[in-house]
């Protein structure tokens, strides 16, 4: 809801009722005051009127006394015995009085006996007093020496009148007569003067109207009787007061303000309980108020509207419009137009707000421009980098996808982070299934080379992690997920380091089934070939032996020489065939390993013994030194014997005459290390990395020493490594060669196999 509406609601909701209340209160108070004033005025008026009336009546009484006091009357001896002359004088006196004051209807002098002594009504003279009790009463009173007066009544003349009787006393003070005047009531009542708005009405104690200020027909006097009215009831009880009530006379049902006074205790004579009511129609009495009301209300409303408009306009201009303006500018700024500003029209708080706002916006604009520039620069930079990164990624993806081998990367928990298509196809598992899983979970078709289950810590990734270096192994994999084929796979697992800690493993997976197959075929072939070769070799050997033995007849020198050559060559060939066969057996993994606790010293000594011939031939010196504390080690003597044999044979072969060969066997931690050092021809530096290769013979020996298959070291290495040991060497051409090999103290593992090495 807008401020404007809120204000309007507040003003209307608060202002109008307050206005109304205020106006109402004002009016009520005004009315009340006016009423009070009117009533007070009325009461006073009524009192005044009553006072006037009272005075009038009093006047008449006073006149009566005055008359009674004139000598004419005081000299009277007896009114009942009045002389005609006196009578005439009195009557003339009476008539004069009436003529003067005009307030009398009749005047009479009545003797105490009740006979009229004199009267303005000539016919009455000499007769008893006419009229009723009223006359008699007043006469009686006067005769008793007191003032007597009656209530108003319709007299003998048919007009409303009041009787006043005063005593006439002689010089002795005795009452000689009563002077009775019949007041012209209508004259008296004429003193009742109302005002424009106020009427006066006089009532006697019986409730008959005695007259009013409106000068109604005098015939109504004493004719109308008012109904019981609370006003007159109160008045008749002697109370005076004011009341707002219906009209006393009951003529109309208008509301009037009535003031009523009683005659009781009034002035100079105890009245007859007359009541004077002064009435003013309420409408008239409150007329001013009502006028006020009819003029005030619209004025107030008009005023209120004007004030409201003024307030609203003021507020609107000083507050609402500037706020709206600021709002509008804010909106524009929010929607992007940073150039819009507030128009500041004043120096007050609103104006200050506007000024500050503008300053803020200026700063904002500056900032924004600066920011925009920065963002642009950064965005460009980012775009470049993203593009470069994307290119790199695309390239990496291409590499991964294009590799001929399977590649997998695992995180430090062994879960697959990366796997290329080749690996996925190799294992027959979709890439998305592999992500986040461990190989132990997913590659349960993995077996070792003998198709046995692999322990978790024997798995390639586990071994890479444990050894903290690359590990290569051959495995069988049952690909039952797709075609159920049993593949031979080679897995190379290498740990990945990041900041010195292991961050994961990288695995390269190769399908080596074909290789294996080829290998197997090769092995079989070699095996078969060796076997096949041996047959003719045996024949050559035997026949050439028989020849040289002379079984076919004696040989001449040359024949003997030739035969020897044949024999030697045959020997070499047989050796070659044996080596080849041994190698093929070792490579096939079918060699029996039959370890027994072996004393190395004994073993070596035995072999050296067998080689004594060759050693002595070349006048060489061979020294053996074995650590005395070496315990027997579980070794297959056949295999290890072969190792020593080959190494020693080499040492002897490649050392000159009179050279020195040393054998040291010692213990190092959990290994036993054998060192065989010669002072022979050494191995050329540039060929040292090929030393363990099949058929390798270094250039410097192949030339002069033709005897040698190049397989000896290969075999030695194979045996040593499959026994859990290591072999290494150091050599300098012309100086000599030292070979070391280690074997674990724990010895060799027994292995079921099918073949043994040939001697």
């Amino acid at each position: 809801m807008s401020l404007l509406r809120k204000l309007t609601i507040v003003i209307i909701g608060v202002g109008i009722p307050s206005l109304i209340m205020y106006m109402g209160a004002a009016l009520w108070f005004a009315r009340h005051s006016v009423g009070e004033a009117v009533r007070t005025h009325q009461l006073e008026f009524a009192n005044q009127a009553m006072g006037t009336l009272d005075r009038e009546v009093n006047d008449q009484i006073t006149q009566m006394y005055f008359i009674a006091d004139s000598p004419l009357f005081t000299a009277m001896a007896d009114a009942s015995a009045i002389t005609p002359a006196a009578r005439t004088a009195v009557t003339a006196r009476f008539k004069d009085a009436i003529a003067i004051s005009e307030s009398w209807d009749t005047l009479r002098m009545v003797a105490p006996s009740g006979v009229v002594a004199a009267s303005t009504i000539d016919s009455e003279a000499g007769s008893p007093l006419p009229g009723g009790d009223a006359y008699k009463d007043v006469v009686a009173k006067a005769t008793a020496g007191e003032l007597g007066y009656s209530d108003v009544f319709i007299g003998v003349l048919g007009k409303p009148t009041m009787l006043i009787a005063v005593p006439v006393t002689n010089s002795q003070g005795a009452v000689t007569a009563a002077l009775v005047g019949s007041v012209s009531w209508s004259r008296i009542i004429a003193v009742l003067q109302g005002t424009e708005n106020t009427t006066l009405e006089l009532f006697n104690s019986q409730g008959y109207e005695l007259g009013d200020s409106e000068k109604t027909n005098s015939h109504e006097i004493l004719k109308e009787r008012i109904a019981s009215h609370l006003v007159t009831n109160s008045a008749f009880k002697g109370k005076e007061g004011t009341a707002e009530t219906t009209s006393v006379t009951g003529e109309s049902s208008d509301t009037v303000l009535a003031a009523y006074v009683t005659q009781e205790g009034f002035r100079n004579f105890k009245g007859h309980g007359w009541v004077l009511v002064a009435e003013t129609p309420a409408a008239v009495a409150y007329g001013s108020i009502n006028n006020l009301r009819t003029t005030l209300v619209p004025t107030f409303i008009a005023l209120a509207i004007v004030i409201y408009i003024l307030i609203i306009t003021l507020i609107y201009r000083t507050l609402i419009r500037p706020v709206q303006q600021v709002t509008e500018v804010t909106r524009r700024i929010a929607s992007g137009d940073l150039s819009s500003r507030v128009v500041v029209r004043s120096k007050d708080e609103i104006g200050q707000l506007g000024t500050s706002f503008n300053r803020m916006t200026d700063k904002l604009q500056e900032l924004y421009k600066g920011l925009e520039a920065k963002v642009k620069a950064k965005t460009n930079e980012l775009a470049e980098r993203v593009s470069a990164s994307e290119t790199a990624r695309a390239r990496d993806e291409a590499i991964l996808a294009g590799m001929g081998e399977g590649l997998m990367a695992l995180d430090s928990q062994g879960r697959v982070e990366l796997v290329n298509v080749v690996a996925s196809e190799l294992f027959g598992i979709p890439r998305d299934k592999l992500f986040g899983r461990t190989l132990a979970e997913m590659l349960d078709g993995l077996r070792d080379e003998r198709d046995m289950m692999i322990e978790d810590n024997e798995r390639p990734e586990a071994r890479a992690l444990a050894g903290k270096e690359a590990f290569t192994g051959n495995y069988l994999y049952h690909r039952y997920q797709t075609d159920g084929q049993r593949l031979s796979i080679g897995i190379t697992a290498a740990p990945i380091f990041s900041n010195g800690a292991v961050a994961g493993v990288v695995l390269v997976v190769r399908d080596i089934t074909k290789e294996k197959e080829v290998d197997r075929m090769k092995t079989e072939f070699i095996s078969l070939a060796s076997h096949q070769l041996r047959t003719p070799l045996s024949a050559i050997k035997w026949f050439s032996k028989m020849l040289s033995d002379g079984d076919a007849g004696p040989l001449n020198k040359e024949q003997a020489e030739f035969t020897k050559n044949i024999s030697d060559s045959t020997g070499r060939m047989i050796e070659l065939v044996n080596s080849l066969l041994n190698i093929s057996r070792i490579e096939s993994g079918r060699i029996v390993v039959d370890p027994h606790p072996t004393d190395l010293k004994e073993l070596v000594s035995g072999i050296v013994q067998d080689l004594q011939g060759k050693i002595q031939e070349k006048y060489q010196e061979l020294v053996i030194s074995v650590n005395d504390e070496l315990p027997p080690i579980n070794l297959d003597t056949h295999l290890i014997g072969q190792v020593y044999l080959n190494l020693l044979t080499n040492a002897i072969k490649y050392t000159h005459e009179q050279g020195k060969i040393m054998v040291f066997i010692s213990r190092k931690d959990d290994q036993v290390v054998t060192q065989i050092a010669d002072s022979g021809v050494g191995i050329p530096l540039d060929q040292q990395d090929k030393v363990f290769q099949k058929f390798f013979r270094a250039d410097n020996v192949a030339k002069f020493e033709t005897d040698g298959t190049g397989l000896g070291l290969y075999l030695v290495k194979a045996i040593v490594e499959s026994s859990g040991g290591k072999i290494w060497f150091k050599s300098e051409e012309g100086k000599g060669t030292t070979f070391w090999f280690s074997l674990p103290l724990s010895g060799m593992q027994r292995k079921e196999g099918e073949v043994v090495l040939d001697e």
């Binding site: 003719p536 024949a539 050997k541 026949f543 032996k545 099918e754 043994v756 040939d758």
Partner: protein
């Protein structure tokens, strides 16, 4: 039964080798009963008298493998006593074991030895059959 010349039955399917062996044995004063195959050998065993003092058996024969032949020989009570020496070029340890279990006295690898060496190895057994 002592004879003047000891008799060895040689079963070898390689003709060349058979000739060499025969010649050599002959030179050494041993009579040779040469067979080219197992069937022939069994045939001889049935017919010949006296029985040989030893059998020189090559494992890989064209008509029957050495194991089967040995089985045959051992089954026959007359022949079971004849010492059999297997002289072969293959050395599958499995085969070796089985032959030895069957009763072969020795398993010799041809190519390793000169003929006279082989004979020297057989001689001790021959004495027994007497």
């Amino acid at each position: 039964m002592a004879h003047e010349k000891p008799i060895i039955m040689v079963i070898e399917d390689e003709d060349l080798l058979l000739r060499a062996i025969t010649k050599s044995l002959d030179t050494l004063g041993i009579e040779v009963l040469s067979c080219r195959g197992a069937m022939q050998a069994l045939d001889y065993l049935h017919k010949v008298d006296p029985l040989p003092d030893a059998i020189w058996l090559d494992y890989y024969l064209k008509d029957m493998d050495g194991l089967a032949f040995m089985e045959q020989v051992k089954r026959n009570p007359q022949w079971a006593a004849i010492p059999i020496v297997v002289v072969s070029n293959s050395a599958s340890s499995e085969k070796v074991r089985r032959m030895l279990d069957m009763g072969a006295r020795k398993y010799i690898l041809k190519a390793e030895y000169q003929l006279d060496e082989i004979v020297a190895m057989i001689r001790p057994f021959m004495r027994e059959s007497a």
